[in-house]
Symmetry: C2
Subunit: 138 residues, 2 copies
């Protein structure tokens, strides 16, 4: 099995709210849109983000863990320049992100902040000047 | 904000078990390895999978939702040919995947199965003959 991720699928309780945020708010183009079912957006070379309604996700994958707390995953959007981070977080705020956390210096040398989408999934907005950060830059 | 995912971060309770599965089992090469902290693996062009110990994740992101049920996300590994799916699921089983679900025909025309990593994150192994499936093939 090659080390390769093709789709990132996130179960979402309100697909219209996701569309309003990603498509109407951030201006991302749907690669696939099936109302009441799924929204897919190309988020990299050979990589799709799939937002799938919870009921369909649970039918196929199993009952989702519920309750207080955050989902145990984050998605990061890395930027080549430190001074781009705050602006992207403001883009997310303007698009309707329900949670925004201002960027701060991190002990590993980076500068990162967070926002969440309407389903609560956290995105990290990051400037990472280290070698690993160079591997993901556009 | 461009539509772009740079890192997929998964909070994991046992980082050594993750390493045993992905590195020793599947043979994937670490891009970064910091014992008791993080394992990163390049899983696409400009895409890193980051397995981060739960305590550090929670310090930065917040308390994780706990309890019964699956995490509300899956990662998919797509293959160009239908007859490659079963073999990759067997690769995962041989690498020590704690959960394996045989592939089946899906109503949308694909053929997919699942396995989980030691932390319980589900990977879908998929053959998707539709147009969206073509966008993610290696």
């Amino acid at each position: 099995m090659d080390p390769r991720v093709s789709f990132i699928t996130l179960a979402v309780p309100d697909l219209e709210a996701e569309r309003a945020f990603y498509v109407d708010g951030l201006g991302w183009e749907p690669a696939m849109w099936v109302p009441d079912d799924v929204l897919m957006i190309q988020v990299g070379d050979k990589l799709q983000l799939s937002l799938w309604v919870e009921a369909a996700f649970e039918d196929e994958v199993g009952e989702i863990r519920r309750g207080p707390g955050v989902a145990p995953i984050t998605l990061a959007h890395n930027l080549p320049e430190r001074d781009q981070v705050d602006g992207v977080i403001e883009d997310a705020r303007a698009a309707g992100a329900p949670y925004v956390e201002a960027a701060q210096e991190r002990e590993w040398g980076g500068y990162t902040g967070y926002f969440s989408d309407p389903a609560g999934y956290r995105w990290e907005v990051a400037w990472n000047p280290g070698p690993i950060g160079q591997t993901v830059l556009p």
